[in-house]
């Protein structure tokens, strides 16, 4: 199957398309002649300019969802377009909370499997070939779909650069959702924004993460303080998220966020494969761990074999003294 047309799910946050969606649009442009976006919410026409700049010619606008979680209604709208014969050869979803929901729903609805955790996407003889980082990124598996129908791909953030290609405003066309019945029963009744100081975890220039080696929940304050002094974001290994020390939104790893900061500082993190896949492509890695055999040292540019309880306070004090 040749790839002529690709759709990309364009998610919106703070009135702008999210970076992960723009990465997918600009990469799709290198794979197919026609790239179109699918968007939902109240602000679709406002983002058509940006989507066009990155390479989308059309925005299929599902419109306001009336408080519904996006999974069911957006999957319905895409399925209806495919049914009507307007569907693409492939649909790319950013690996976000809603992107995964929509992809999963659509997969079951049109009876096509979905490939997730994609980190690379190239054109092959029989369609698109995906790359997946497995075993902490030590190995790359390549995969593809067999059989007919559009390929559904959920792609991890930062797999491709987001680059503008100078296109004009994308044309907005309506792609209304059909009545989805009971599947559309989940409604958002209130939204809460949690106070965040400093940059977002996946956009920060510096990320400081803590793991089990911190010993106890209270010591995570050291991670937050160091992150703040370096004008960075605080991350965490899965172990301490599972232990309830910090919320899931801080998690870096296979299940969690992918980060590629200028500097990643891993404190008391052993470097399980689960964690490595989310941070090993950072430009520079500093690891502090008391176990000299910890796998984290195999990816570190600077490895400090030492106790985080001793090294971190000194580091923090020295940075404070610099003002």
């Amino acid at each position: 199957m040749s790839i002529d047309k690709i759709w990309v799910l364009a998610e919106v946050a703070d009135g702008k398309p999210i970076t992960a969606s723009l990465e997918l649009i600009s990469h799709a442009k290198s794979l197919a002649g026609t790239v179109e976006a699918v968007a939902y919410g109240e602000e679709t026409s406002a983002i058509a300019g940006t989507l066009g700049e990155y390479g989308a010619t059309t925005v299929h606008d599902v419109g306001d969802l009336g408080g519904s979680l996006p999974g069911a209604p957006v999957a319905d709208a895409i399925a209806a377009a495919i049914e009507a014969g307007n569907g693409p050869d492939a649909i790319l979803f950013p690996a976000t909370y809603d992107g995964r929901d929509i992809a999963g729903r659509l997969s079951a609805k049109i009876d096509r499997p979905v490939l997730t955790n994609v980190v690379g996407l190239v054109a092959g003889d029989g369609g698109l070939i995906t790359q997946h980082a497995v075993f902490g990124g030590a190995q790359i598996a390549t995969a593809r779909f067999v059989g007919d129908g559009p390929g559904l791909f959920v792609v991890r953030a930062k797999s491709f650069p987001a680059e503008t290609s100078g296109g004009g405003q994308a044309e907005v066309v309506a792609a209304a959702a059909t009545e989805s019945g009971p599947t559309n029963g989940a409604k958002i009744v209130a939204s809460h924004v949690e106070e965040r100081t400093g940059p977002k975890l996946d956009e920060a220039n510096v990320v400081v993460s803590g793991g089990r080696g911190l010993g106890e929940k209270e010591n995570y304050a050291l991670i937050e303080e160091l992150a703040s002094l370096l004008k960075g974001a605080a991350g965490a290994s899965r172990a301490i998220v599972d232990a309830g020390w910090v919320p899931y939104s801080h998690q870096v790893g296979q299940t969690g966020k992918t980060v590629k900061p200028t500097v990643y500082v891993a404190c008391g993190i052993s470097g399980a494969t689960q964690h490595l896949v989310g941070m090993k492509n950072s430009k520079n890695i500093v690891a502090i761990n008391k176990d000299q055999d910890a796998p984290i040292f195999s990816v570190a540019d600077l490895g400090i074999v030492g106790d985080v309880h001793k090294v971190l306070p000194k580091l923090i004090e020295a940075l404070k003294a610099r003002g």
Partner: protein
């Protein structure tokens, strides 16, 4: 209130993982254990059934060779019974195929609430729960960090990029829970003994009315074509801390101009 928890029995994550060079499937050798991620769903189910004043917690799982060791762990925590789908023809089933099998098994338990982890710790595809909800024609709320049942509906705090949303949905509904939402209990000795005699219904796909062509490697419509080593990241300088290693960190950060 009847709650179904989807649980996965996985190879011990402490053992190094591998792909079979021939079939490119995950190699599953040795005893399977309960996926840590699923312990949160089991705990949540037990608490919710308790709060609702009773009802049964049923585990639903798919595993090769009638494997029940992971299920026994969850039964020891307090689940009442389990449905296990085990069938030779399931080897190599993709996530959508898995969802079809689990959905058919879940239907038999007629649950008010279905809980699952956001993703498994071995395959971490993360789409199976939502696919199950779609196949069963049910609403779903993913990435729950708090779950409350009031009457005929569920109220969920759902993780978002910026914070969280309060989401409400009528029952029956499928909810996926993030790790750390509740503290999973350790099975008591009494629980472990009781688990040995709790019912585990083992089903084949024929029992579920599923055609063998839809599942397994033949039904999978995705294939792994190659597995190769990725570029190794060279390890760098190692400094053993003797009280002043923090100075080397500062120097390194200065070189990178983040200071």
């Amino acid at each position: 209130m009847n709650v179904v928890v989807c649980v996965k029995q996985i190879p011990d994550p402490a053992a190094p993982p591998a792909l079979d060079p021939g079939t490119k499937n995950l190699v599953r050798v040795g005893k399977l254990i309960l996926d840590d991620s699923d312990a949160y769903g089991v705990e949540m189910a037990l608490q919710l059934a308790d709060a609702a004043g009773g009802g049964e917690v049923t585990l639903v799982s798919m595993a090769p060779n009638g494997e029940t060791s992971g299920l026994r762990t969850a039964l020891a925590m307090g689940a009442a019974k389990a449905i296990l789908v085990s069938d030779d023809s399931l080897a190599g089933t993709d996530a959508l195929g898995t969802a079809k099998v689990l959905a058919a098994a879940i239907k038999r338990a007629e649950p008010d609430l279905i809980l699952a982890a956001t993703e498994s710790s071995d395959g971490y595809t993360g789409t199976t729960p939502v696919q199950i909800a779609e196949l069963l024609g049910l609403p779903s709320v993913t990435f729950a960090k708090k779950v409350e049942i009031t009457g005929n509906s569920v109220k969920v705090e759902r993780q978002t990029e910026a914070g969280y949303d309060e989401v409400e949905s009528p029952l029956p509904v499928l909810v996926t829970v993030t790790a750390g939402v509740v503290e999973p209990r350790y099975p008591s000795f009494k629980g472990i003994m009781a688990a040995k005699s709790k019912p585990v219904e083992t089903l084949t796909i024929a029992d579920l009315g599923i055609d063998a062509g839809q599942v397994g490697a033949t039904g999978a419509r995705q294939e792994i074509t190659d597995v190769s080593a990725s570029e190794e990241r060279a390890s760098g300088e190692i400094v053993v801390d003797e009280g002043d290693a923090y100075q080397r960190v500062i120097q390194f950060l200065e070189q990178l101009k983040v200071l």
